[in-house]
């Protein structure tokens, strides 16, 4: 693998594990486009001397100038707060890393990223096989660095928690994920009847 490919893989994996913010950017852009088109159309209509759609530019300017007098203070404060909160949300979207629920594995000939749901499903199968229970009796939830494996035993058949831990740890080690996931096994005290 050439250094070029290594850099390329690093870039691809970074992009595939982080949100591109396309949805937010597109939504915001569409709202802005509508606003701009409306102002543009109103301006042209005013020049042409045609009746405005909602308000002609002079009315807009006058309305904005008289805001402190024409609108009741509580409404103005509420509107200002809503705008500020919306702004804050956009700033957070712009600055936050926007990690997606995915993990990368070390790259060899190929670069590799797996959905957390696929990893959970993979672990659940291993845990259920080791614990000798139905796959439906195992629930795995995956965070960035931690996985929780919940096993509900079949009533009367104790589950070897240590064996499950070993099997799940071995599976996780073979995935070579980054960031590394540490699994904890929880065996429910009450079992399923008739499974």
């Amino acid at each position: 693998m050439t250094p070029n490919t290594t850099a390329l893989y690093r870039r691809i994996v970074r992009r595939e594990t982080h949100s591109p913010r396309s949805g937010a950017a597109t939504t915001v852009a569409v709202v802005l486009i509508l606003l701009l088109v409306w102002i543009g159309v109103e301006s042209v209509l005013a020049v042409a001397g045609v009746a405005p759609l909602l308000a002609d530019p002079r009315t807009m300017v006058a309305a904005i100038a008289s805001l402190p007098d024409s609108v009741a203070p509580p409404f103005l404060v509420t509107a200002g707060t809503v705008l500020a909160v919306l702004g804050l949300v956009l700033v957070v979207l712009a600055v936050a890393p926007g990690r997606r629920a995915r993990h990368a594995a070390s790259a060899g000939r190929t670069a590799f990223v797996a959905d957390d749901r696929a990893i959970a499903s993979s672990l659940a199968r291993i845990a259920s096989r080791t614990a000798r229970v139905d796959p439906d009796q195992v629930v795995v939830s995956i965070g960035r660095r931690r996985a929780t494996v919940d096993v509900r035993p079949t009533s009367g058949f104790p589950v070897d928690s240590a064996a499950v831990q070993t099997a799940v740890d071995a599976a996780l080690a073979s995935y070579t994920l980054s960031p590394t996931i540490h699994a904890s096994i929880r065996v429910a005290r009450e079992g399923t009847v008739g499974a």
Partner: protein, 220 residues
Amino acid sequence: MNGTNRFRNRAGLLLLGLVLLAIGGAVVAARLVPEWASAWADASGPVADSVTGALDASPVGAAGGSWLLIAVAVVCAILASVLVVLVLRQGGGRTRTIVRGTASMEAESPGGGVVIESGLAKDALTEAIGRHPAVASVSVTAYAVRRTPALKISAQARRGASIAELRAFIDGVVGAWDAAVGTETPIFIEITSRITSRFGGATRTSTAEPSEVSPAPAAP
């Protein structure tokens, strides 16, 4: 992996977010701080008057028309077009050519170049990977990442599929592809799992290695 300009997306969101924060904060502050409220009330009249004055001083066309308004319309149209381009630039970056004959290849066979289109990779890899019983569906797309052609293999795993084993299988297919093509195109593998595969019912599996398992018809 696509060509979306993420920095531009984030920069745009940051800019608009700060503007909204400033406007909203100013409105709230103006109502909460009495001096600011009076300052706003004092300033708004003259500002509105000067805007109206400027509109009156630049007459054109019908009564009340102003060439300033034409300028406003033009600026709005330009900004809106820029935003439309930004929206249309999301995604993209696909390429049709994944291998183009290099100098060394041409030295071996002078007078002829080699071009491999992404459609070939797509057909060959999709066919080979889709055969694995743990793969519900697979798609292969070619992107130009920083001008380097790279393939993205996106495989949807069935419930309970081992991702390590899936990766090993796909790497094997990639090895065969490399051998067939003669060069190593960068390849990115993505394993996803769909929610509906949870409700597919328990799959009966044997204890044999998955490679020995033939895709048997579903049990009645």
